[in-house]
Subunit: 312 residues, 2 copies
């Protein structure tokens, strides 16, 4: 299926990505193949609060990248899957249909449909799959600023954080940990009032942050009119050059692989916990917790002891 | 310290909650004491996107509850701690200062400062601590709609989801899993245009949801002017009566305790993984992953085998 997908077969690629999202044995095989055979494509994460205009921005970036000679690129739009049903609504995809007929652009909404490691593992796997079939750039767009979304968007070479000119937006970005994650700030909808204040807030917070080799630039963009998008694309390329020349690219990728390994390990052990939880010992101890005979820690201690994982 | 906190000592209570947030041995002792000796206070979760006006709404609810004879209540404002620095900005607290001089009201911003189980474990523990010192109502406000925030806010008896009259707000709520979590919907800032459309979207989505005994009412509120807040308070009481009379209250609390037990178990085992990760075996396998000699799954399999947890 990889051969077909590499030759441009979109349905083959979609099947590969579905397998990765489901994360079962087939997903694992696909991920392993991509891992061994894939190149590393440059990756960009785009994150920000709902309504900040990320999809419109991505739309503009696609045009900028394609005009600049990027022959094949993929957009993974990560929908936070509902913690209750696993469902996800694929609205943002529609907005990028300006590129629906461009064969050099592949757009897919992603959610975890059962992958044990969640998006933390599924997204890097999907990135390697699209890289392995020849994508020269991978854009990861996330639709929220929760911990998982920020983690996913910042697990890329270059993280772009999108805010709007509104009181408090800069502060919200800081709250959500975006300040530390950002390589580039975009004030989108910069034709609305409040740009100066938002820029001032962001610059002040950057002044107070620990100094880094690369100070995140703050760009003003009106994505809906295409203003400032080319400059953003230039800054993204600048940042990538900086990563390469400073040696940080290799370090970041190394860190990411280590974190991914750890996440796989946690998922693997959680699966064993699931098995435990569906067996009688868990049920009995859970009942003790409900009856207030044991507190949750005591129950956990007893279960671990019974199973014998607590050996060290 | 519990005796002091029960007698109204706010500093004693603050120390108990700090211990819980830190989650070390002292936190565990505090949590265990509260677990064995605490009553169960009714809990309400308030969640919604940043800027939806949750703090102002909570402010109004405090007044409504106090006027209605609730003698002691606590608000836990949950700040998503940054995944990078653990930092949190406590802005929302300030907005509730209308009640700063009311000794029947205790407001605290919470973040996890090292608790291994994260907010999923720390918040229920904190709820039991404030219940154990005599709070008759606990309001849990979360400042985001990420998976963790929704999980925290919905781990209460009654979950109130706050949206604004804007195109897309209802859809965003559905995306974030709030539809399944909500017991009551509030359209706050209902003096802005778009209320009818937002209500229609919500009602339509509720029509399409699996039927439940309790259909979440959709209330229009202008919290900043105090309009509709008394009605919200009435609906909250109605919902609690429904939970009690239907027997669902006991079921929900049982489910929550089981989930908490499981989260403690996962945290306990993750701590062991951390120990593994700082030892040589992990380092060697991580290097193999970085060198593309093993994929992350193979490395995880080998590590688990070496440690001997994978016995079943």
């Amino acid at each position: 299926m990889f051969a077909e997908a590499s030759a441009g077969g979109r349905r083959a690629l979609a099947r590969l990505l579905s397998a990765v999202e489901q994360g079962g044995d087939k997903g694992r095989a696909v991920a392993a193949y991509a891992y061994r055979n894939g190149g590393e494509a440059p990756t960009v994460g785009i994150t920000g609060a709902p309504g900040a205009g990320k999809s419109t921005l991505v739309d503009g970036l696609i045009s900028a990248a394609r005009s600049d000679g990027v022959d094949q690129l993929a957009v993974l739009a990560v929908d936070p899957s509902s913690p209750f049903t696993g469902g996800a609504i694929l609205g943002d995809r529609v907005r990028m249909q300006g590129h629906a007929l461009d064969e050099g652009v592949y757009i897919r909404s992603m959610a975890t449909r059962g992958h044990l490691g969640g998006l933390t593992v599924a997204v890097p796997e999907a990135i390697r799959v699209v890289a392995a079939v020849g994508m020269a750039l991978v854009v990861v767009e996330t639709v929220g600023v929760g911990q998982v979304e920020v983690e996913v968007a910042s697990a890329t070479d270059t993280t772009v954080v999108v805010v709007n000119p509104r009181w408090g937006d800069a502060v919200q970005a800081s709250k959500a940990g975006l300040l530390e994650a950002a390589d580039i700030f975009v004030i989108n909808k910069a034709d609305l009032p409040g740009v100066r204040e938002t820029r001032r807030d962001l610059e002040q917070m950057l002044d107070l942050s620990p100094p880094r080799d690369w100070r995140p630039p703050v760009l003003e963009v009106v994505a809906a009119k295409g203003e400032g998008v080319d400059e953003l694309w230039r800054e993204m390329k600048n940042h990538h050059s900086h990563l390469e020349s400073s040696g940080e690219l290799a370090l970041r990728r190394r860190d990411r692989l280590e974190r991914e390994f750890r996440a796989v390990l946690v998922a693997r052990i959680e699966r064993e916990i699931d098995a435990l939880c569906s067996d009688g010992r868990f049920g009995g101890l859970a009942q003790s917790v409900v009856d207030h005979r044991l507190d949750p820690y005591e129950a956990a201690d007893q279960l671990v002891e019974q199973v014998g994982t607590g050996s060290n």
